[in-house]
Structure formats: C-alpha cells, structure tokens
C-alpha cells in the first residue's frame, strides 16, 4: 500500500483555478462581440496574436525554469492575460504590438517575478503601459466605430492594416480614421482636446463620435462588459468589493467634479461608459494576484484606482488611465495589505455587555 495519507479536509469545492479563468473568458464574450461589431476583425486578430505570443512565451519560460509547461498552461491564466491585452489594444494596431505585449506580459511581468501568484503587477496592464509609453501614436490610434466611417473596413483591409500598415488601396490607419478630413479621436481623447481648446463640455458632446450616453459604440461596448461582469459576480468568480468600490468611487469623483464646476470635468456617464472603465472594473482590477487581499483592502485598492483614473483622465496627459492606475495601485498593495489586516476572531473584541 502506498503512502497517500492526505490531510483534511477530504472534500473540496469543485471550483478550480482553470475553471475560474475559463469563466472569466466566457464572460468577456459580450464585450468582445460588441467590440468586434464596432471595430471589425481587428479585435479578434489582436486577441489571437497576443494569445499565441503569450502561450508560446509561457511554454518557453516554463521549460527554461525546468517546469512542466502543461501544468502552467492548464490554469488558463496566461490566456486570460493575453485576451485582456488583446482587447485593450487598438483594433488595428500593428501585429508586433500585440506580440511584444504578449511576450512582455508573460516573460517579464509574470514569470520573472516567479510565475502565477507571485507577480506584483497586472501583466496585461503592464504590457499595455509598456506599449503605450514606447509607441504612443500607435497605441492611441483607435479608428472610429465602423458605423461612423465613410466606408466600412473590409476584412482583408483590416488584416492588411494590421500586418502591413496599409489597406489594399494604400490608405494608412490615420487616413482611414479621419472623417470629413479631420481625425476622429476616441471620445475621451475628444473631450480632452476639446476642453484644452476651451470648449464647453456640452459643445464637445455634440461631436460626431458621441452617442446618446457616452461615446458612440464605446457606450455599448462598456455596457456589454458590464453585462459580462454581472455574470462573473453571479457565478461568484469575483466578489463584489472590487468592481463596486471602483465604480462607486468613480461616480462619486465625477459628481464631485461636476458639482464643483471643474472646467475640465467630464460628465459621469462619460467616465463610466468610455474607454476601458467597465473592462477595468470587472476584468482587470479583479485580477486577484496583484490586488489587495482582504475585502477592506480591496475596496481601498479599487477606490485608489478610481482616483487615479479620474485624476489622470481629468488632468493627465493621457486620455484614458485604467492601465496606469492599476499599476500605480499595484504598487500600493503591500502597504494596503499591511494596514487592512482583518480582525481575527478573539482580538479587539468589544462587548455590548448589558
């Protein structure tokens, strides 16, 4: 008889890490579909590019570290990282951006820190920031939603754009992105430039790229991510603390900005349904590895991200700020953890003795 004495408990909840990761990806689907609807084939290509780069890197690094790549790949964590990165990249960013991002996220941000569970920073966001800082123009070149384009981008043109930089007709991304001769920026970008030009918020929101609530297309995408996020909550893959604290803080800050009549304050709806807000709230800041541990700490962590997002969006040089904010908050995690230890049963007991 072999020695396989096990320790209690002898039963386990069936929910496993790979299942969790799998559900995360499933819940990303609505957002992904919405994004694909508005931006075409580019999103899928970016996701695929980032995924293959990430999985290849994961395999390679595991082999280099003398571990079984199968075990690491099985937990789906690299895949989730890659998918998030792919979704965050501009749909028609050149192919090498996704590859560099995927390799960097896995090799440097994750494995160099010791693999899953040991990374200090969110791999997808760290890779995104690397690309953003290195290739600012490329990384901010979002084309407007397809419906706003003069002529919709065909499938082959999309692929050519990614892999060669030009469509069959020789148009570059910048040329395609311009409507009526001037470039259509993303809604947040538009607000930022508009405000800097001294326009009133209302005036800016009249722009072509704005829809009923927030940016045209972006509002739907964000709502789709919200839907996916709710599913995650329902499935108990994530707990409510992080997204709720994040969104509430963001709302509070936005309202505060409006109340005090900050000249460059964007409306609440814009904050909530533009850029990567919802993707961030439910899928990015909820990465458990790099987030704070205790529920209270997580709420502080999320609020901190919201603060950074608001500050950078309002006063910073970049239109969106989820990636930067997440990284900044990641740096604060050890301190947050230190100060938000849970109260252990039996310590600091207050009695309502009567």
């Amino acid at each position: 008889m072999t020695n396989n004495l096990l320790s209690s408990p002898f039963i386990r909840k069936p929910l496993r890490t790979q299942t969790l990761m799998f559900w995360v990806m499933v819940c990303l689907l609505p957002g992904f579909i919405a994004q694909s609807y508005y931006f075409g084939i580019g999103t899928l290509v970016q996701v695929l590019l980032a995924s293959s780069a990430a999985l290849a890197t994961e395999t390679a690094t595991q082999l280099l570290r003398g571990r079984s790549p199968a075990a690491a790949l099985a937990d789906n964590s690299a895949l989730v990282t890659a998918v998030l990165l792919g979704l965050a990249l501009p749909a028609y960013a050149p192919w090498w951006a996704a590859v560099i991002g995927g390799v960097f996220a896995i090799a440097v941000v994750k494995q160099l820190y010791g693999g899953l569970g040991n990374n200090l920073f969110n791999p997808a966001m760290a890779a995104y920031v690397l690309l953003l800082v290195s290739f600012p123009v490329t990384m901010t070149s979002w084309i407007p939603p397809q419906s706003l384009l003069a002529e919709s981008l065909s499938l082959s043109d999309g692929l050519r754009l990614i892999f060669t930089g030009f469509t069959r007709d020789g148009f570059s991304l910048v040329q395609i992105a311009s409507v009526d001769g001037h470039t259509l920026a993303t809604p947040l970008d538009a607000v930022k430039t508009g405000l800097s030009q001294g326009l009133m918020t209302e005036e800016i929101l009249q722009g072509a790229q704005f829809g009923a609530i927030a940016g045209h297309g972006w509002q739907v995408i964000n709502l789709a991510y919200l839907l996916g996020g709710c599913a995650l909550l329902y499935l108990k893959v994530i707990r409510w603390h992080l997204p709720v604290a994040f969104l509430v803080s963001l709302i509070v800050l936005a309202i505060w900005g409006q109340l005090f009549g900050l000249t460059n304050a964007a409306p609440v709806s814009l904050h909530l349904l533009s850029g990567a807000t919802m993707l961030g709230a439910f899928f990015i800041i909820t990465d458990p590895v790099s987030a704070a541990t205790s529920p209270r700490g997580r709420m502080i962590f999320a609020a901190l991200i919201a603060l950074f997002v608001y500050v950078i969006r309002t006063w910073g040089g970049y239109p969106d700020a989820v990636a930067f904010s997440v990284l900044l908050a990641n740096m604060c995690v050890p301190m947050i953890d230190h100060f938000t230890k849970t109260r252990v049963y039996g310590y600091n007991v207050e009695h309502d003795d009567d």
Partner: protein, 819 residues
C-alpha cells in the same frame, strides 16, 4: 432594551463571519436505533483518550476484568480513568497504534473478551435525593467522561463549578458532512439525553440551558422538543460549517465572542456535547462508565451507512468488517472536514471518535499556485488571512505566522475546502503550528534552564563563601585551642581512635572535590552499620546473608536477574558477587551472557559468579599490555608492581575456575579470589599493615564475608598503592581498621584517583622522565624510566574499571615499546 439573556431566550441568533456550506451527505445514513456492534477479538483501550494526562494503570497483565471496571485511576479531574468495555482478560499493557493522525503507538490496555459477558462492575446509581453538584462531578470523573465532540476535554474538569454560569449550551450542531452519531443519539435517546442535560444543569445551575441543533436535523429537533421540559430551550440554528465549533456556536447562540485565550466559562458560558450529556445520565442513573459510544460508519464504499453502538477500544478494522469492507481502503476517523486518515486500521475507537468514513481515496489534486483569490479569507470563521498564512508557512516564517495569528486557527478546513488551487492549507498550518509549538517549548526550556543555571551558580558561590568562612573559623579555633591548652583535642582524638583519622582526612579531601559535606558523615554512619553487621556476620552465619543482601539492595535497584541469584543457596556469596558485578556491570553484557551457560548445580549463584568473573577476566585481558609491559620493571624489586601483577594473574586464574570446577564454584571462587588478592597484598607488608586485619577477618568462619571483605581490601590496597606512589594525602586510607569503611572510602577514592592520576602522573611524570631519561613522550601515563611512579601508574591502570582507560594505557604502552 432587552437583556442579553432575554434576547437569547427569545430565540435571537447571531452570525459569525466566514463558514462554508459543504454538501451534508447525511440523507442516506440510517439514524434509526443503532445496533450494538459485536465485540472484537481484542479491544485496545488507550490510557489517554482526552486532553490532559493519563491516569495510573490499576490492572495487571493477566487479571480478569468485568464490564465497566476501571483500568486506570486518578484523583485528578484532568486524568479521567478508562474502563474495561467488556468482561475479559487483560492480555497486554503496551504501546499500540493510537487513534491519532500520526498513528504513533501509545500505551493501551489490551483486553481479550471472554465468551460470557454477564458480569459488570458498574458503580451504584446515584439517588435523586442525594445528588449534589460535587457528587455529580465526582461521578462524571469516575465514569471517565471526557468531551465526546472531538477535543476530548475532561468533562469533570469542565463542570467543577468555580465560576458563575449564565448559559449552558448542549452542542448537537454536528455540522460536519456525513457524521450523524449525535443526530442518531438525539433522535433515539432524547429522553435520557435531556435527563443528562438536567443533571448537568443541577451540577452547574446555569441561568439558561440551550440545546443547539442545526436545522438540517428536523427529526432530532422534534424528538428533543417533545421530550424537553420548560427549562430547556431546544434551538435550531442555521446549517453552516463550522457551527459546531465551540467558538462559533457560542457566537451564534449568544452573540458573544471569546477573546483570544479565553474559555467560554470566562464569559459565563459552557458548551457540552450531547454525547457527554447522555454519558452523564448513564453514569449517574445507571452507574455505567463511558465504555461505548455511537459511531457513524459512512462513505462512498459503505453499502448501508448507519450508526452503531461501539465499545471503546474496538479496532476500526472490526467496524469495517460489519460492512464487508476490505482493508485496502483508507478509513478516515472523524468527518470529511476535520477528520484524519488512519495510518493503521488497528487503531481503536476512542471516546472522541464519532465517525468512520470509507471514501474513495480522493486523487491527490495537483497543488497549484495560490492566485490570492481571497476565497479562503472569506471562508475562514476565525477571520484569519489564510493566503498570507500559507505564504509564511511555506517560507517557514514562524514570526510572521504568529503575528498573523496562526495559532488561533481552529483547523476547520474551510479555507482548504474553497481553495480553487487545491492547496492543502490546513496541512501547512498544522506543520507550521507544530513548529511554532516546538519553538515555544524550546524557549520555555531555555528559560527554565537559564533560571536553573543561574540558581546553581548562586548556590555554588554561596557554598564557596560559606566553606571559606568555615575553614577560617576552624583555623582560628585551632589556633586558639593550641594557645589555650597544651592538649590538642584533635591529636587526642587521633590517638584515641586511629581509624577516625581516616574520616577526618576524607572530609577534607572530599571537600576539596566539592563533594557534599555530609558525605563523610554518611560514610561514617555506614561504616558503623557495616561494622556492626560484620561483627554479626562473624558470629551468626545466616543474618550475614540478610545484611549483605540489604547492602546490595541499598546500593542500587536490584533487578530480578540480580536478586534471583541472591535468594539462592548461598546468598551471602551471591550478594557479595552481585556487588562486584554491579561495579562493572555495564562493561560487557554480551560477554556476560556468553559465559552464562557454563554454570551448573547452583545455577543462580554460579551464573552470577561466572558473569562477574568473565567481566573481570575480560578486564584483565584489557590490561594485559600493562602487565606484560610491567614485567621487565618487576625486576626493579618494587612490591607495588609485583602485587599488581600477582593480582592480575590471580584474577585470571580465578576466572578459569568456574568452568573447571563448576559444582562448588560459588564458595570456592570467592575464597580463591580473596586469597589471591591477599597473597598479592601480603607481598608488601610494609605498606599494607591493615591487610593483616583484613586477612584475620577473612579467615573467620564465613567464607562469603571473607570474600566480600577481601575484595574490598584489594580495592583499597590498590588505591593505596597509587596514592602512596603519588600522593601523601592518601595515606590515611590505608590505616583503616574497619574493612567496611575502608572499602567504601577506598572505592570512591580509587575511582577518583584513577582519573586524577592519569593527568597528574602524566604531568609530573613527563617532567621526571625528561630529567632522567631520553623518553619524551608527553602522553605517556606510565613511563618506564621512573620505577616508583611507574608502578603506581601500572597499578592504576589495572585498577581503572573503565575499558577506555585500559585501552588508552595499552595503546600508550605500545607506543612506548616501539620507542
């Protein structure tokens, strides 16, 4: 505002943080009246089935016991006794695999049941009229009741009333999956159980009694409610794991949180298991001790999961047989959340064993990396941060583990249950906790050692000071007396009794050695006693035997082997020899065994002699190089050397005797030996005046006495030789008139000197040696170029009882020869 107790009474329930909801898996377990399990072929009753210390065994191997008879006894409540679960015979009291996750063997009484089980030795039932809290308490202790929920805290200790009690909680929560023994008990024995509760109430007089049952056991709740009177509240609590934990249950029912290190009683709350309450009823109303309990047998492999009344001590394998379960399974004792896999199915059912699970051995899930998802922290009922604890446990960071309150972990397993990465968290915590405990223990021991060390240092310093003061005083007194009167009392004493001198000197000598002051007095007293005995011996033949025996016994714990020969035909001889043997006992037991077969007619005595001889012979062999090396120097007409050689030879001769002449070995050998020694000693009459006394005594009627005395003499002589050659201080030892005293003192001295000399000779010698000869070996204890000292060294080498010394001497001899 309603008072706290009112709130509880009115059914308010509180919540505790964390907890999980595993599938209870109790639906298909038969909770009907439990069947009593047949007795196994052997019952193993571990002495310790509780927290605390084991009680003293009060039965012997071979004694017959009746059902309910106490196997151990103790007055202390922390050591509840264990009882015989059946009529039968005690076949062993030995270490048996325990019902513990380690399976480490622990002391247990093994009982073989007899075929007829009709007798019992229950205590007399207590009458209602005479019930007092103290009496109930005493009865609970006598019945060996300890907590039956899991921890096994002695129940009597818990109910000895010392603090005011507000709420008595009877724990019937039974929150673990599978386990249904309490459920079964509550359903089928509600009335006696509640009677037990009221007995506990009587003993403790609480303001409120609550029986708490999880709401997934409607049958039990119904049965209890039907039987409960007005004064007992039966409360259904929400099903959640681990509500059955003491702290959690207290919080659910009373809203009180126990401070770290607090016991419920510190807040006026007490928790008892329903099983305990039932056992109390049995003990008080029937006088029946805790000898059986309900055990659930369940799990994937169990065809008909059900409950059994199982006698305490029944091997788990016997229980498994009931369901035709082979032994290829691994059984889990306790539930699936907190139980443990039994390394050994021979482990018995103990008082705390509520369930045996035979499940599919779960495939050891691949432990994945912690993704810090925080599920464990959500599940932890103690509010700990399991993921951090895991981190520190892995890194062996005991300091951090402590600061994250690892020691407050109740090992409920909720964290590991929810962990998506399948990390055996509890196992990590247990190992780390064991390390922390070990560290604590070390720290405690270090602290105690330090205290003792410091105390000792102080004491030694004080003694030193006192001794100095005393010596100074004595010197002053002597000076005064010398001045005051011409007649020195010390001198007078010396003149009066020569032998007392010995003792005086001995005191001084030994004081120098830091020997306790009273040693001299003891020696003196002994000497007188011995003298008296010796005198008696000389006259009456038989009392001598007794005296010798007594002395031998006083010397050491006489084990059977040694005392057996002493009781036989010629006990005096035996005793003397036994003493000799004791001296060198540990030297060569193997050899001693080997020489045993040579004995005959009077086997006991002969055996003892043979063994003693064999050892001596062996020792002589060891010192052989000494004697051979000494031969050349014997021409230097030094009597000491000659004597030593003669003695060695005599011993060898004597060693051969028992085999050659086995019949009369006993007496003959002793006489021969004594003579041999005497002969060797008489070669130096100018040195050995007291030998004459000795030989006189020795030639007296009883050869046994003679032998003993002669041997003592020989020893002493040996010591003297050394001291003569070496140390003028040793002189008094030889002037002893009383052989017993001399022997006692000389023996101690010989040993001490043997050691000292080794160094002294070495030092002094090598100096001498250098001045006289060319030999410059610094590690030469017996330098051939300095005859008088050399002789002493040789004698010492022979005298040394230790083989290592002999070996050393031998080796140095050899090196000398080489030169």
């Amino acid at each position: 505002m309603r008072s706290w107790l009112d709130k509880i009474k009115q059914g308010q329930l509180w919540r505790y943080q964390g907890g999980v909801h595993p599938a209870t898996k109790k639906d298909n377990i038969d909770c009907g009246k439990p069947e009593t399990l047949t007795l196994a072929k052997q019952l193993v009753v571990p002495l310790q089935q509780h927290i605390g210390s084991p009680a003293k065994v009060c039965v012997e191997v071979g004694s017959t016991v009746k059902t309910g008879q106490a196997l151990t006894e103790s007055r202390f409540y922390q050591s509840p006794p264990v009882h015989a679960p059946c009529c039968g015979t005690v076949v062993a009291i030995e270490a048996r695999p325990s019902a513990h996750p380690s399976g480490i063997s622990e002391l247990a009484v093994v009982i073989e049941p007899s075929s007829i089980q009709n007798e019992h030795a229950f205590m007399a039932p207590l009458l209602e009229a005479e019930l007092t809290p103290e009496l109930i308490c005493e009865r609970v202790h006598q019945a060996g009741i300890s907590g039956m929920g899991g921890a096994g805290f002695p129940a009597a200790l818990k109910i000895s009333p010392n603090k005011p009690l507000n709420v008595l909680i009877i724990n019937g929560a039974e929150c673990e999956p599978y386990i249904s023994s309490d459920d079964c008990l509550m359903r089928n024995y509600a009335e006696p159980l509640l009677r037990g509760v009221s007995l506990l109430e009587k003993a403790l007089s609480p303001k409120l009694v609550i029986v708490a049952v999880e709401d997934d056991k409607p049958g039990a709740i119904k049965a209890l409610q039907a039987a409960a009177g007005d004064n007992i509240v039966v409360r259904a609590i929400p099903t959640k794991y681990p509500s059955g934990g003491e702290k959690q249950l207290v919080q659910v029912l009373t809203g009180r949180e126990l401070k770290a290190g607090q016991l419920p009683i510190d807040q006026g709350i007490l928790v008892h298991n329903v099983g305990t309450a039932y056992a109390v009823q049995r003990a008080v109303d029937h006088g029946e001790p805790l000898i059986s309990r309900i055990v659930t047998l369940a799990g994937d492999h169990v065809g008909e999961p059900r409950n059994y009344w199982v006698a305490i001590g029944t091997p788990v394998s016997h229980l498994l047989e009931q369901q035709k379960l082979g032994t290829h399974h691994q059984a889990i004792m306790g539930g699936s959340m907190m139980g443990f896999m039994l390394p050994n199915l021979a482990s018995p059912i103990v008082k705390t064993a509520n369930c045996i699970l035979v499940n599919n051995t779960p495939a050891q899930a691949q432990e994945q990396a912690c993704i810090r998802c925080g599920e464990c922290a959500q599940a932890c009922p103690m509010g700990l941060l399991p993921q951090q604890l895991y981190w520190y446990a892995k890194g062996d960071d005991l300091e951090k583990s402590r600061s994250y309150k690892l020691m407050d972990c109740i090992e409920c397993g909720a964290c590991a249950y929810v962990c998506p990465s399948a990390i055996p968290l509890v196992q990590y915590y247990r190992q780390t906790k064991a390390k922390v405990r070990a560290e604590d223990l070390l720290a405690q021991e270090a602290e105690r050692a330090k205290q003792r060390f410091d105390a000792r240092k102080l004491r030694l310093e004080k003694e030193q000071a006192e001794r100095k003061a005393r010596q100074k005083q004595a010197a002053e007194r002597r000076l005064q007396q010398a001045q005051g009167a011409g007649n020195d009392p010390v001198k007078a004493a010396l003149q009066r009794m020569q032998n007392k001198q010995v003792e005086i000197k001995a005191i001084e000598n030994e004081q120098g050695e830091l020997v306790p002051d009273n040693s001299a007095a003891i020696a003196a007293r002994k000497a007188r006693k011995a003298q008296a005995r010796a005198a008696k011996d000389a006259k009456t033949t038989n009392p001598a035997v007794a005296a010798a025996l007594a002395r031998a016994k006083a010397k050491r714990e006489v084990d059977g082997e040694q005392s057996a020969p002493a009781k036989s035909a010629n006990p005096a001889v035996a005793a003397a020899i036994a003493r000799a043997k004791a001296k060198r006992n540990s030297e060569q037991p193997a050899e001693a065994e080997g020489s045993k077969p040579a004995t005959s007619a009077n086997p006991a005595v002969a055996a003892a002699i043979a063994r003693a001889k064999a050892k001596k012979a062996q020792r002589t062999d060891a010192s052989q190089p000494d004697s051979t090396a000494a031969k050349p120097s014997s021409t230097s007409s030094n009597p000491a050397v000659a004597a030593a050689i003669a003695r060695a030879k005599a011993k060898k001769q004597a060693a051969e005797q028992p085999s050659a002449n086995a019949k009369d070995a006993a007496v003959a050998a002793a006489v021969a030996r004594a003579k041999a020694k005497k002969a060797s000693q008489s070669e130096q009459p100018e040195l050995e005046r007291p030998e004459n006394d000795a030989s006189k005594t020795a030639s007296s009627a009883n050869p046994a006495v003679a032998a003993a005395i002669a041997r003592a003499k020989a020893k002493k002589a040996q010591a003297e030789q050394q001291t003569q050659g070496e140390n003028a201080d040793a002189k008094p030892a030889k002037s002893s008139a009383n052989p017993a005293v001399a022997a006692a003192i000389a023996r101690a001295k010989a040993k001490k000197l043997a050691q000292e000399q080794q160094q002294q000779t070495q030092n002094e010698h090598s100096e001498d040696a250098r001045s006289v000869s060319s030999s410059d070996s610094p590690v030469e204890p017996a330098d051939a170029t300095s005859p008088p000292k050399r002789s002493a060294a040789v004698a010492k080498a022979i005298a040394a009882a230790k083989a290592k010394q002999a070996a050393k001497a031998a080796s140095s001899m050899e090196s000398d020869n080489d030169e």
